[in-house]
Assembly symmetry: C2
Homo-oligomer: 201 residues x 2
DNA sequence: CCGGTTACGCTACTCAGGTAGCGAAAAGGA
DNA sequence: TCCTTTTCGCTACCTGAGTAGCGTAACCGG
C-alpha cells in the first residue's frame, strides 16, 4: 500500500448520517451536502467514495436489510407467505420512509428511486442484483426443499414461480400503489399453488 | 371563457418534440429547455402546461401506448401469453429507448423513471394508474370470460393471478434486468395455470 | 529524511430542473 | 372603446447534484 490511507471512520459516520436523512426525509431529503456536513467531511471526499447520490442511497439500504433467515417449518403453505411478508415488510418500510405524517399518498418512495437508480447507473444495478441474489437463493432453496418433500410438483419451474410471487409484491407497491399485507401474501400463495385451471387440489 | 386563450397547437408540437427526444436520447436526454426550443415556445410556457419533466414524460408515454385490443380466440392458453407479450413489447421498447447502439446494459430506462416519477408526484401516480387501469380491465375481462367458459376455476382470484403475471414481467425487466420474450411469457402462464402443487392437470 | 503516491479539504464552478416577476398580447364583456 | 382576465415570452434567478483544480496532510519505500 502506498500513499495516504483513507480515514477508516468515514464510511461509518457517512452511512449513519445518510441513513438518518433517508429515513426521516426520504430520498429527496438525502442531500449530499448535508450528509457531508453531518459526517464532518468535505463534499469532495464524499464523492470520492460514492460517485453519486444513488450509490450512497443504495449503500444505506444495503446496510438496512435485516439479514433475515427463512423459517422452514416443513409446511410450504405456511413458510412461503411468511417469507413473502418479510419481503413486503421491507418494501413497506421503504415505502413509508420520508412521508410527512398524515400523508396518505401511496408513494413507493425509496424503492422506486432505487429502481430508477439501477436503470441510470449500470454498477448500481449490478449491486442491487447482488442484494436480491441472496433473497433469491433463500427462496429457491425453500421451494426446492418443498419440492423434494413432495409438496410441490417435481417439474415445477421454480424461477417462474418466484418471479410471480416477488413480482406481484413489487407490482402492487410500485405500480398499483397499494400496500401489501399478510392477507394479500396468502392470496398470492394460494393462487400460485393451486393453479388457475379447474379440478386442482 | 375569459382571458387570452391558449395556443391550441402548442400541445401537439411539444409532445412531438418531447417524443423524439425521449425515444432517441432516453429519459436523461429529455431536456425541458430543448423541448421548448424545438417546439418554438418559451420554457415558462412549457412549465405552465406540464409542471415537471416527469409530467411531460408521462404525457409522451401515454400517447405512445398503442391502443391494443386483446385477441380472444377462446383458448386462454394462447390468448394469455399473447397479451403478456404485448405488454412486454411495450416494456422492452421503453427499456431500449435512449440506449447507445451496442450498449448491452439491461437498463430499464424510461419505465423505471416513470415508476420513480409516480412516487415523487402523487398526481403523476394517479395518471399512471389510470393508464394501467385500461390494461387491467382488458385482462380481467379475458380471464373472466375464460372462467365462464370453464377453462379456469370458478373461484379463481383473478386479481391475484393478474398481479402475478404482470408483476413477473415488471420484476424481470426492472429488478432482474433481463429481457422478456415469448418463451418466458409462456413459462409464466404455464406455471400459473397448472399451479405448483402435484397432481394437477 | 526525502521523493513518490494517494487522500483530504477548500473554493469555485458547471449543469439541469424549476421559479419569480414583469410587460405585452389576445381574447370577452360592459 | 376601455377594462378585466388570462396566456405568452423574456430575463433573471434559485436550488441541488456533481466536478476541477490546488495546496496540504499522511503514509511508504529507499
Amino acid at each position: 500500500m502506498v500513499g495516504r490511507p483513507r480515514r477508516s471512520d468515514v464510511d461509518e459516520s457517512v452511512i449513519k448520517a445518510a441513513t438518518e436523512l433517508l429515513l426521516t426525509r426520504g430520498y429527496a431529503g438525502l442531500s449530499p451536502d448535508e450528509v457531508a456536513e453531518r459526517a464532518g467531511i468535505a463534499k469532495t471526499t464524499l464523492y470520492r467514495r460514492w460517485p453519486t447520490k444513488d450509490h450512497l442511497a443504495l449503500a444505506v439500504v444495503n446496510r438496512l436489510q435485516d439479514h433475515d433467515e427463512i423459517t422452514d417449518t416443513g409446511d410450504i403453505r405456511r413458510d412461503l407467505p411468511a417469507y413473502l411478508e418479510k419481503i413486503a415488510a421491507g418494501l413497506n418500510r421503504m415505502r413509508a420512509a420520508g412521508r410527512a405524517p398524515g400523508d396518505e399518498d401511496a408513494s413507493a418512495g425509496t424503492v422506486a428511486e432505487l429502481v430508477a437508480a439501477a436503470a441510470r447507473h449500470p454498477d448500481v444495478g449490478e449491486l442491487e442484483r447482488q442484494m436480491y441474489a441472496r433473497r433469491n437463493t433463500l427462496a429457491r432453496a425453500l421451494l426446492e426443499k418443498a419440492r423434494d418433500r413432495g409438496q410441490l410438483r417435481a417439474d415445477l419451474d421454480v424461477e417462474a414461480l418466484f418471479d410471480q410471487l416477488a413480482g406481484a409484491l413489487y407490482y402492487r407497491v410500485l405500480i398499483t400503489g397499494l400496500p401489501v399485507d399478510r392477507a394479500y401474501a396468502e392470496r398470492l400463495v394460494d393462487t400460485a399453488l393451486r393453479g388457475a385451471t379447474p379440478e386442482n387440489g
